[in-house]
Symmetry: C2
Amino acid sequence: MTKPLLLKNLRLMGAAKTDVLIEDGRIARIASEVTPSGDVTVEDCDGALVLPGLIDAHAHLDKTLWGMPWHPHQQGKSLQQMIDTERHLRHELDMDAERQSSRQVALALSKGTTAIRSHVDIDTDHGLTLFEGVAATRDRYAEVMQIEIVAFPQSGMMIRPGTFELMDQALRDGAEIVGGLDPCGIDRDPKGQLDAVFGLAEKHGKQIDIHLHEPGEMGAFSLEMILDRTEALAMQGKVTVSHAFCLGMNDQARVAALLDRIAALDVSLATTAPASRPVPSVAACRERGIAICAGNDGIRDTWTPYGNACMLERAMLVGLRNNFRADVEVAWALDTCTTEGARVMGLEGYGLTESSRADLVLVDVEAVSEAITLRPPRRLVISGGQIVARDGVAEATWQTA
Amino acid sequence: MTKPLLLKNLRLMGAAKTDVLIEDGRIARIASEVTPSGDVTVEDCDGALVLPGLIDAHAHLDKTLWGMPWHPHQQGKSLQQMIDTERHLRHELDMDAERQSSRQVALALSKGTTAIRSHVDIDTDHGLTLFEGVAATRDRYAEVMQIEIVAFPQSGMMIRPGTFELMDQALRDGAEIVGGLDPCGIDRDPKGQLDAVFGLAEKHGKQIDIHLHEPGEMGAFSLEMILDRTEALAMQGKVTVSHAFCLGMNDQARVAALLDRIAALDVSLATTAPASRPVPSVAACRERGIAICAGNDGIRDTWTPYGNACMLERAMLVGLRNNFRADVEVAWALDTCTTEGARVMGLEGYGLTESSRADLVLVDVEAVSEAITLRPPRRLVISGGQIVARDGVAEATWQTA
């Protein structure tokens, strides 16, 4: 049991200074002044601004090359080329999934992330080894990082026989979510793949999160097939569509109708807000009450050299992509990396109120917008009531080799 | 006269370790080992990677609110609203142009920028006061920051009588470049405005840099009028078009023809690679030999809350916007913030070779791509042979109030 922790002089989301008492991993008290009593650790926070724990709701913990020698990016740009290259490089480069995923988790903690939904590749080359590696990391970091694993058929399910059975096994072994990927573009069999994905969800009583990169009308077609099954199987509130580039297409009336249906079926969206692809509009989702969360996607992997696990940087990119400038809009960008992520992941007790789980990120800035535009090293990160990082560096307990 | 400076153990653009001797503001010698002789300052650089000085080729030094209390962003999003709001807020907020521009220059130095092309507003509300403020900063920092001032009619020239005369005066008083802005969208008189802009350039023997936000066919029309005048007045190599969003339009054949003509007339482009607007393709420009440089545009001003003067961050945004992933492509993104900026600004002696001006940025990373994706605090920044920043902080001489 950790000692109670009393944080003095902090500004929750930029509000007036208060003290915050943390006990048993929860926010026990918020008041203008809390007097320490008994054996309590006291931290003066000098008026630091507090955000709730950041949430990376679309990650790939098994893919990162973080901490390994710089790998010159080499593959072609088609999705299929990137998939194939990665599957081969995993062997060549000795990308141990447990080691690499714990490196990324430690890095993410240092940046203030306290929950991650990670897709993990399931394919017939690697079997369940990547899943097992990330599951070991999930267990090791369970106290301070809430990790959900999506069993993700990155190399395709219909085009690679044996993958379905591995997915089934991963879900039996504790993967929390059923993944899917471009039912037309990669699997070339939208009916077959989506029936399989929804079948696995029904069988295991689990939620779904499908990568949908397909652009324009092809993506809209796949999306409609996902929505059809969500409705027919009463999966409202249990399906996430990641990327959904088709919702960035130019036909505004078509997009509006799709969004209306997504709202009606309580389907959620995950975005990385890429600058080079069309994307769903965060404002259009908010107007309809659609949950739209954000993720860093792969960081420094065989797909992309970019990324550092910082969800405040992702909030900036969401803001820039959506042309959010006013403070209220920049706060929407932050929401995709905080409250909307918690909503999609269904995190219990998320927030900066009394009795919430104590996940707090302290930043020395004046305003919430400034936290996103400046992104200074996190002064203090608290997860599940424990101090896990200070001045941008993870505490020794949580560092990895 | 500064003492000679001997830098030991650094990797120019990631190449093998060398020593670099700097004398009289120039790179005097590059060799695998240089032995110190005489009165020389020696710095061991531990194998740091060296980039040439970063170049912000599209800035607005008179606009930033950096160092002032956080200003909640307030105006509407149309260009005209942003222009009007800013003009009023300059008075309300006491945005002293000399103070604010020197704050931004000191910040930019700390991030490794050694040259800036800054547009400065010329309007009938402020007369030449903003120009005079930025000119004072330009003079103060002349040793370590090469600043070019564009006399920029931000509020319009044809729609605000008296602006033309102020532009004329600023150019007489030492503004280096004639600016212009959306001849259709803002000035509603493309012939009138462009004749005036080119007339000023001819009269003063100066170059031109025109903001062209106009999208699609309207922008292409204005661009053609700019190209017509460039050709008729033999201004090849002396005209820059900033933003040029029209070159991001979907009609690929139309864009290709415009780019071909731009190449033939040696017109250069400046981009900020915004995620929410169409942009010219860096690769398409490179293919044709068109100079395309990058800038941070306004940072933390009444237009936008984003920005921190870091041109490595801009290189990342250029890379993300252009979907650059391979190391060679990420290097193209960096080029827009280094060599291409030098080409557009016509900087003498730019580069990392013997006898070049000694503008060096040291970063503790393994590869050039990593400098852009990670952007750690600059280990050392050298400008004109002087150490101007260390560990991300400007040296005391160059700091401002």
